[in-house]
Symmetry: D3
Subunit: 247 residues, 6 copies
C-alpha cells in the first residue's frame, strides 16, 4: 500500500517534518512518501493561500494517480485545502488532516479543543467543523500566541505556552481531548501526554491510519455525482487537469 502525503505549501522543511511523522504513523507494509508542489504559497494562512495551494494539490494527486500508483492521498495541512476538489480528480481516498484528527478523536473523546499558533479569525474553523459534522463536539480553539517560525526559534518558551494552552483547554473549557493544529507541535506530543490525562492527537497519524483502513477495505470515493470527475472541456493554463476529466 502506497500513501502519498501532499504538503500543500512549498516549504521543503515542512514536507520533511510531515514525512517523519508519517513514517512513525504507518503500519508495517505501508509505504508513505511526502511531496510539496513546485508552485504555491510558502506557508498557508487564510482563504487566499488555501485557494492558491489547491492548484498544487490537484497537480500532485493527478500525478500520483497517473505516474506513481498511489493508493490514497493525504493533504498534509490542518486547513484541508482543496479537499473537495481533490476528491474529484481521483477515485482513490483523499484525507485531510483536520477531518482525520477530528474523526478519530470523536471515537475516543466526547469533545475536543484545538491548539493553534495565532488567532486568525474563526470563519474557516466554523466552516470546517460544519463540513465534518463536528460542531457539537468542538469545545474551543486555544492559541500559543507564537507563529510557526517563532515556535521553532524559541522552543523553550514555545513548549511552555503549549502547555498553558492545553491546560486552559482542559481546565477552563472542559476539553476531554486535544488536537494539535500545527505540525510543529508534534515532537512535543508525548511530553504533553505524560502531563495531561486526555487523548492528544496530531493530524498526520490519524490520516495515515484512516487511509490504511480505507485502502484495506478496498473503498473508493463515490463518483456518482458530487465528487465525479471534472467535465471534459478546455482548461487553458491548467492543462494538467485534462488528465483527470471524464473520459
Amino acid at each position: 500500500m502506497k500513501i502519498k502525503l501532499i504538503n500543500p505549501n512549498t516549504t521543503q522543511s515542512m514536507t520533511d517534518g510531515v514525512q517523519e511523522i508519517a513514517l512513525k504513523a504507518a503500519s508495517l507494509g505501508t509505504e508513505v512518501y511526502s511531496v510539496s508542489p513546485s508552485r504555491g504559497p510558502a506557508s498557508i494562512a487564510g482563504y487566499a493561500d488555501k485557494a492558491i495551494a489547491t492548484i498544487g494539490v490537484l497537480e500532485e494527486i493527478i500525478k500520483g494517480d497517473r505516474e506513481e500508483g498511489a493508493d490514497a492521498y493525504i493533504i498534509a495541512c490542518f486547513g484541508d485545502p482543496g479537499l473537495d476538489a481533490a476528491k474529484m480528480v481521483t477515485d482513490k481516498p483523499v484525507l485531510g488532516m483536520a477531518q482525520s484528527a477530528m474523526t478519530v478523536m470523536r471515537l475516543i473523546a466526547p469533545n475536543f479543543s484545538i491548539i493553534g499558533n495565532l488567532y486568525g479569525g474563526m470563519a474557516g474553523r466554523k466552516e470546517a467543523l460544519a463540513k465534518y459534522g463536528m460542531t457539537d463536539v468542538y469545545v474551543s480553539d486555544r492559541y500559543i500566541g507564537m507563529s510557526v517560525l517563532g515556535f521553532e526559534q524559541d522552543p523553550v518558551r514555545g513548549v511552555k505556552e503549549l502547555r498553558r494552552a492545553v491546560r486552559e483547554a482542559i481546565e477552563l473549557d472542559h476539553a476531554e481531548g486535544i488536537i494539535l493544529g500545527c505540525a510543529g507541535f508534534v515532537p512535543y506530543a508525548d511530553r504533553l501526554r505524560e502531563e495531561f490525562p486526555v487523548p492528544i492527537l496530531d493530524g498526520i497519524t490519524p490520516a495515515v491510519r484512516l487511509a490504511e483502513a480505507l485502502v484495506g477495505m478496498g473503498l473508493k470515493t463515490s463518483k456518482v455525482s458530487t465528487w465525479n470527475y471534472p467535465q471534459t472541456q478546455e482548461v487553458p493554463g491548467f492543462e494538467f487537469m485534462k488528465a483527470a476529466q471524464i473520459k
Copy 2:
C-alpha cells in the same frame, strides 16, 4: 491485536454471522472473536430491547477486560446499544456498527442512505445521526418491507426488494452512498456493488478496521470526565459492575 465483537442479542446464529463477516474484514494479525451475552433479548428492536441488551454488553466488556485481554470492542448491532455506558467500563476503544459505518462513509461519499427491514419510527435514527454528527449527510432510510426472519426465509424476494430499496435511495433520494443496516444483507453486498456505482458498506467491516486503526495508534478512550469509570458504590443485583468502578 484482539478485537472482541459483542452481538448484544442472545441469538447464536446471528453471532455466527457477525463472526463470519468480521473474519473477512480483519487484517492479517488481527484476532477477532464474537460472543453473545448469556442474558438479554433474542433480537433488538426499539428502546426497551436496547436497554435490556445493554446489561449484557457491559458484562461482556468487563469480562473482556479482566479475563480475555481484548484490545478493543465492537457492539455488533446497528442500534449501537449501550455505546456510551460501554465506554465507561473500559479504557479500550469501543465502536458501534452504525457510528463506524457512517464515519467511514463520510470519508468517501458526500451523503448516504440506510437500508433497513421494516419502518419502526425515526426517533432512534435521528438521535443516532445527531449523536454522531451525521444529520447533514444523511439522506433517507429505505426499507425492504420484510423482517429479518422473512428475508432469510425468502431470499429471492428479499434480494429483489433489497435492490429496489437501493435503487430508490440512489435514484429518488440522490444517495451517493449506501449503508446496509442489517447484517443479513451483507452476503449480497458484492452483488449490489456490481449493479450500483456507489459505495455500499456494511457496519461490521468499518468497525473492525477502525478498531484496528485506533489500537494501532495506541489510543484509549478519554477518561477525564464524561466516560470516566463508574463511581465506587454498591450495585445490588449487578455486582459484575464493581469490577469496572474507579479504584
Copy 3:
C-alpha cells in the same frame, strides 16, 4: 388518581425524600407513592449508572401496571434514566424529572439555568436538552462544588454555595429561571425564592402536576410505532419483560 414515583437508585432515604416532596406537590385526590427498585446502583451519575438503573425502572413500571393499578409514572431522578424504554412497557404517561421541570419552566420563563452538585461532563446534559427541545432556552449549568453527600453533611456551607450558584446564574449568565438539579436542594427552595426574584423549580413538583394533567385529560402514550410495546420474544434473564410484550 394514582401516581407512582420510581426513584431509580436503590437508596431508600432518597426515595423517602422524593415521597415527601411529591406529597406536598400533589393535588387533593391524587395518591402518590414512591418506590426504589430492589436492584440497581446506590446512586446515579453517568451513562453506566443510568443504563443499570433502567432495568429497575422497567420492572417497577410493569409491576405498577399489572399489580398496582397506577395511572402514571414519574422517574424521580434528574437524568430521566430509561425514559424512552419506560414509555414502551406501558401506555400510561411516564414523566421524567428533567423534562418536566424544563417543560414547565419554559411556560413561565424565557430561559433557565440548572444548579447541580459537581461538574461531570456536559454530553448527557446536551443530549437531554436536544431531546426535549430545550437547547435554545438553556443558559448554563452552575455547580455548588459539593457532592450530594457533602451537601447533606454540611448544609450551612451547602446553602451558601447554593446561593452563590443561583446568584451567578442570574447575574453572570442572565438566567431568568432556575431549576434545582438535585432533590437535596429542594428543602431550601423557599429560602432561595425569597432572595432571588426568578422562578425556582424542583423536578418532582412539575412532574407530579404534569402527570395529573395528562391523566386528567385521559391521555395515553402513543403506541403506534416509536413507543409501541416490545416485540414478542424470549428475553432470558429478564423474564419480567414478557409481561409487557405485544400480545
Copy 4:
C-alpha cells in the same frame, strides 16, 4: 381558580365554542370564562390579523388582572397572537393554544402533525415551532382544503376531508400524534379517536390543564428581564397600557 380565555378575534360564536370546550376541559373547582375583545379582526389569518388582535388580547389581560381577579390567561387562537407581549402585562401565567397542545403532545408522542384548514404559507408555523422548541418533533401540516366557514356549512364533506387529512398525516408522514389546528374540528375529535390509534389533541384542553397545573403550583411568569412589565411612559391612543407599566 379562575382562568380567563381570550378569543382574540371579535366573533362571538367562536368565543362560545371556545367556552364550551373549556368547560369540558376544566377540572372540578376551576372556573373558566371566555371573552372576545370589543375591537379587532373578525377572524385571524396571517401576521397582520395577529398584530391587530394583539391589542385586544392585552386589553383583556389587563382588565382580567385589575377587575376580574383572573389567575391565568389562555389566548384561544392557534396562532398564539401576542403571547410574549401578553406575558409582559401580567405576572399570571399566560398560555397559547399552539404552545400548549405541542407541549402536552411531546410528553405522550414522539412527533406530531397539525391539521389545518387551508395552506397559508409556512413561515408563521416555522417560527412557532422554533419558538417552542418543537422543530424536531414536528412532522407536517395537513389541510382539509376548506375554510373555517366552509367546514361549518358542509360538515359532512368537512369530516370526510378531516379524516383524509389525519390518515395522510399518519400513513404518509408517519405522524404518531395529531393536533387539531382549528377549534371547529374539536366536536369531531372523539370520532377521529375511535378510528385512528394515535393521540389527537385540540388546543383548548391542554391549555386549560396546563393553566391549572401552573396556578396549582403557585407559579408566576418571570419578571426579571425579558417579560418584565412595560416601562413607564406615555402611550397615546393606548392609555389602557398605563395600568400595566412598572410602578
Copy 5:
C-alpha cells in the same frame, strides 16, 4: 423615488434624528421623509411596546400607499416592530433597521457585534437573528450601560462608554464589524471609525440604500401567500385596515 421612514414611537425628536440621518444617506434623486404615528408608545423596549407600536406602523404604511405615493418604507427602530405585518398591507418594499444593517454588514464583514444601551434580555435578539439568518455571524451584544436619555444627557461619558463597548466587542469578542443599535450613537460613528479599523454601521443608512436598490430594480414584495394582503373582513376599532384588504 420616495422613501417613507416610520419612526414607530411617538417622540418627534427621535423622528427628527432619523430624518437627519436619512437625508445624509439618500442618493441624489431620492426623496426621504420621516413620520411618527399619532398614537403608540413614546419609546420602544420589549415585546409589549413593539406590539402597540405596530398599529401605528400599519396605519402609516397604508396612508403612505393610498395618499402619499411612497415607493418603499423603512421601519426606523432597531427592533423592526411589525415588519411581517407591514409587508402584508403593501406590495412596496418594507425594510427594518436591524435586518438592513445585518444584511449589509454580512456582505463586508464575516461577523459583527451590536452595541446597545442597556441589557434587556436576549430573547428578542435571538429571534431577530434567526429570522434574518444571522445567527452564525452574530458575535455579541455589548452595552454602554446608559439609557437613551442618559446618553443624551451626558454625551461625554456616553462616548467614553461607547468606545469601551466597541473596543470590548473587537478585542474580547473578536467582532470584525460593529452595528450601532441605537440612533443616538450615529452622530459619533465617524469618530469611532477613525479609532477602530472595522466597518461600523448604523441601521438607517443601510435601510435607505437597500430601499433604493429594491425600488431601482422594480421589485415588490411577494404576495403569493405568506405576505399576501389581509383577508376581507370587519376589523372593528381598526377600520383603517379595510383599505389594505384583498379586493
Copy 6:
C-alpha cells in the same frame, strides 16, 4: 462608480451575456465592465472547476485594484467561486451572484427556489446556503433537465422546461420567490414574470445594485482578521499574488 464583473470561466460569449445584463441593471452613472480571465475552465461545474477558476478571479481583482481603479467586484457565476479568497486581495466590496440574489430575495419574499440546468449533487448548494444564512428560507432546486448548451440550442423546448420548473417550484414546493440559477435563463425572465405572480430574480442585477449601494455608502471589506490581506511571503508560480500581500 466603476464595477468590474468577472466571469470566472474563459468563454467570451458568456462574458458578453453577463455584460449585457449588467448594463441593463446598472444605475445611471455606474460604469460596468465584464472580463474573463485568460486562463481557467471553459465552464464551471463542481468543486474542481471552481478551484481552478479561483486563480483567474484573484488575478482579475488584483489587476482591477492596481490598474483599473475598480470600486467593486462581482464574481459573475452562480457558484460564487473564490468569494472568500477574493475578499482578501482587495478592500473593495466583492459580491457573488448567488449570495446577491438570495440576499435581495430574502427582503421581498419569505422563501425561494432556485432553477438550474441539471442535477449535480446538493453538497455545494447546502454549503452556500449555510454560508449565506439562507438555509431556512430555501425551498428547493428545480431543474430544466437540459445543459447550458442544450438550452441555447433548443430554446423553444428550453423555455417550456423552464416554465415547468418554475411552476413546479411554486405549486409543488410552495416557493414564493424564484431565483434563476443560470445566466442563460435571464432573457426569458420577463416572460416568466408575466405568467407567475412571484418575484423572479437573476443573479447579476441584484449583485450590481448591491455593489452600487455598498460603494455609495463608502463601505469597504473588513480587513481586521478573516479577510485581511494575505501574509507576505513567496508564492512561486503565482507571483501576481505578491501585489496583494500586506505591505
